[in-house]
Each structure stands twice: as structure tokens, then as C-alpha cells.
Subunit: 276 residues, 2 copies
């Protein structure tokens, strides 16, 4: 079986948490990336038990972050919510808590300020994350999402933000969709050694879909050289799970068991080394 | 009047070249960025005369490039077409020829190879451009367009590609839409001193429009801090025209004279220094 393959729950968006866990077990997939909303619906403790009973690893919990609000109640609420997310990641024994850092506040054009507030927020959360044994995983997002979702735009930038903290408490996410275009990505991955908390794969497809949030494709349907990036990530010492996270309306309308079968095949054909 | 303001013809897409020239003259705009297709329709010599008669500068000619094809007839044709574009830029006395370098060839995932072919193509074109006194302007494009339009993704990368050549023959374009998100953009602009061939402005708007190619907004409608970037560009010694280039379906359906009036107002309100 394709070991190290992990299903990020977003890829089978119609499945509640319990069904996603059962689907992985049925398909022989050993690891799952969970999302907080469906986990809340099922209950954190119940999900943790179900995952354990199925013998799955939790490669990541998505997501914390959204730390760009100006000081005030909104920011305080975001920090509190991140503490809850850390608690949940601990209870689920998640490999990391993926941090989507947030976009510009409404009406603001102060990108440098938003980025600084993210750094400040991470610093504020680190002691709590360390006390709970949870690794925060800073996710650089494609510059497409800089304004409204994630002001952390490159792996270099994520590494700079992570640098002041212990690698076991603040790591980075390498998501092929977000980083594949970056002329510096090979070097940045090399410098990520010891910091890679999550490696996620999905493809960049063209023509660019009309809904930017659902623009991700199954591996092999687009333009990304997955083998190249996987080799780089492995050369940097990463030997953890490889999570397939795809936001795509067509896939979401497909029978999730079929999606898992397709994902396994594409993982073998496009991510792993070719068979001899 | 707002001097240094230039109309890139794409902003008033429905106007043929002659009408765009006349529209600028009517609005007191001293400079225009031309596109090859409408110039071909009007005739290069006729357009050059009309521009001269109207007393306009040609801030740029769009566009050369598309140099990522594999060696063979398609690539040869692209190089030939770039030579013709250089001839046209010379005849129009254009400040530069904007180079949109091209995306990945169909079915290819070799991004590094595509980038190398761009560098090779520029090297091949430089002697001809120099002989005609034309400045090639390498345009880094938003990573959104990496797969299908421009594998040159950051200003740093454009500077590296330009470095082997004389600044008067190979410069770079700083287009706010393409570079605003880049955590390294301030430093990259500083290092662009002497290389900035064109400064283009338009805004990044959200929610992201359904047609990625028409996703640009009028200054002030989005998230970009234009003053910050203009100050950086000026600190790097650039004192040339500031071109407004906006691909936007709604603007294209607006009376072009109104678009010019709006553009002047927004240029004053969002790009220039605030009035004391």
C-alpha cells in the first residue's frame, strides 16, 4: 500500500469526520488530516477515540491562525480560539496545527503591519503550544490569497517567522499548490530541514477555475512536478506523512470512496518514485 | 495636471489606437502604453505619426516575450516575432518593450527548464535590441500566471535574469499588481536602481473575480498601497511615466473618456503624495 499517504479531510468534503476515518480505514490509508469544524460536529473526544480505534495517525489539524486583526476584541478572540485549537490538536495527537495566518483586515493596505501582527501572535501562542506539546505549522499560502487569507506568502518568509522558536514548537507547511512557482523554493526547502511539519500535495490546474478557493486539482491534472518537490522535502530530512488536500467542486461531487481510490493511484503515479 | 501619468491602452480596451491617442490628448494625458495588436490594425507608421502629432510619449509597447517553447519551429517563430516587436518599438520610440515571458509548454512540468529557455531567448535577442536602441523590460508576473503566462515570478528573479546585460538594453517592469504581495519587494526595488524600465499600477481586488485574466482593479478599489511602492520606485531613481494598466470587464464596458477621468482622479488620490 502507499504508506505515508494521508487524506486531508477537505479532499472528501462531504464526509463527516467519522465517515472520513472509516473511509481511510476501508481504503488502507493510515493517516488523516482533520479539520476543526467537522471534528467539533462529531466531538473532539469521540473523534480522537475513533481515530485511535481505526489505528490512524492524525497528520495535521486544520486550522489555527487568522492573527492579522488589529489589537482589540477581534484579535483577542482569535488568540483564544487558537488556544482552543491547540487543545484540540493535543487531544487528537495531531502531528501539527496548521496555521493559516489571515489576510489584510477590512479596508487596510498595511501589509507589513499585518505580517508583524502574525509574528506577534505566534510569539504569544508559542508558550502554550509548547506546554501542550503541539507543533504550530506556519503555512505560506499562494500569493493569490495574500489579500484575503494568508499574508505569509513564501516558504522563506515562513522560515524567518519560525526562526526564533524551537523547531518542535514552530514548523512550516510545504504545500505544493502554494509554493511550486517560487524560484527560491528548492533552497528554501533545504533550509527547512528540521522545520517541515507537514507536506501537502495538490495540483495547479489551468484554465484557472472561476472560484479561486476551489482551484486546486488532483495530482497529475495540472502543472506541478510533485516528484521533484517530494525529493527535495525528503532530502531535507522529512519522512512524515504526505497529505492530499484538494479543494475542488468536481471532486466534492464525486463519491468519496472513488476519490480515495483515485488519490491513491495518482499518488503512486505522480508523487512516488516511478516503479522500476 | 497629473504629469507622468500614462494610459496603458489595455485600460481602454475598446478604443482603437488612434482613439486612444486622441483620448489621451483630450484628457491632457502626456503618455501612452501601446499594444501591438491595435497598433498593427492602425499601422505602425501611422500610429507613430499620430502619437508624435499629439505630442505624446510612448511609455511602453506591449508585448514581446513568450520564449518558453522548446527548441523548434514554435520557438524560432517566437524569436522572429520578438525581432519584429523590437522593430516596432524602435519605430514608435517606445520607452521599452514589455516582455511577458510565457508559461509552461503544453504538458510540461519542467519549470526550471522553461525559465532557462527564457534566459536563453533574452540573450539571443539582446544584440538586436541594442542595435535598434530598444530596451527589453522583463516583467515578473503574479505567481497566479506562472503556469500559463509568465514563469518569471518575482522582481528578484527578473533582476537576476537581467543582470548579465546592460541596463539600457535589459530592464525590468515593476507592476504593482504582480509584485505587491512579495515580502522581498522593497529590497528588490532598491536593487532595481537603473533597471526600472516601466512602473505600472493597478489594484488587487477581492473577492477574486471569476476570470483571472480580468482580475485587476482601479487604484483605490483594492488592497495595494500604491504610495508605498511609488516612493520605493522613486527612491531607486525612477522618474519616468506611471502607467495605468487594468484588465477589467466592468471598466471595459464603461465609456473610455469616463475611465480616463476616473483614472486621473484615482492616480491623484492613491498614487501621488497627498496634497498638503
Amino acid at each position: 500500500m502507499p504508506h505515508r499517504l494521508s487524506l486531508n479531510q477537505k479532499t472528501t468534503n462531504s464526509w463527516p469526520a467519522a465517515q472520513a476515518v472509516d473511509g481511510c480505514a476501508r481504503a488502507g490509508i493510515e493517516s488523516i488530516g482533520l479539520w476543526r469544524e467537522p471534528v467539533h460536529e462529531a466531538g473532539v473526544a469521540a473523534t480522537a477515540r475513533r481515530v485511535a480505534d481505526a489505528g490512524l495517525r492524525v497528520s495535521s489539524l486544520c486550522r489555527g491562525g487568522f492573527l492579522t486583526a488589529l489589537p482589540g476584541p477581534e484579535r483577542d478572540a482569535a488568540v483564544d480560539d487558537n488556544r482552543r485549537a491547540i487543545d484540540e490538536a493535543a487531544e487528537l495527537s495531531a502531528g501539527c496545527l496548521v496555521m493559516v495566518v489571515g489576510g489584510l483586515p477590512d479596508g487596510s493596505r498595511d501589509l507589513a503591519g499585518a505580517r508583524q501582527r502574525v509574528a506577534d501572535g505566534i510569539a504569544e501562542l508559542v508558550p502554550y503550544a509548547a506546554s501542550r506539546g503541539v507543533r504550530l505549522a506556519l503555512e505560506p499560502m499562494h500569493p493569490l490569497f495574500c489579500a484575503d487569507r494568508g499574508v505569509l506568502s513564501t516558504l522563506d518568509q515562513a522560515l524567518e517567522m519560525a526562526a526564533p522558536f524551537a523547531p518542535e514548537t514552530v514548523g512550516v507547511v510545504v504545500d505544493t499548490f502554494h509554493v511550486w512557482w517560487d524560484p527560491r523554493v528548492d533552497d528554501a526547502i533545504a533550509r527547512s530541514a528540521g522545520r517541515i511539519a507537514s507536506f501537502q500535495v495538490c495540483d495547479w490546474i489551468t484554465p484557472f477555475p472561476s472560484d479561486a478557493l476551489l482551484s486546486r486539482g488532483m495530482m497529475g491534472d495540472g502543472h506541478i512536478d510533485f516528484r521533484h518537490l517530494r525529493r527535495r522535502v525528503e532530502a531535507a530530512g522529512y519522512d512524515g506523512d504526505i497529505e492530499v488536500e484538494i479543494f475542488n467542486a468536481e471532486l466534492w461531487n464525486t463519491d468519496p470512496d472513488e476519490v480515495l481510490a483515485l488519490m491513491r493511484k495518482r499518488y503512486t503515479d505522480h508523487v512516488l518514485e516511478p516503479r522500476k
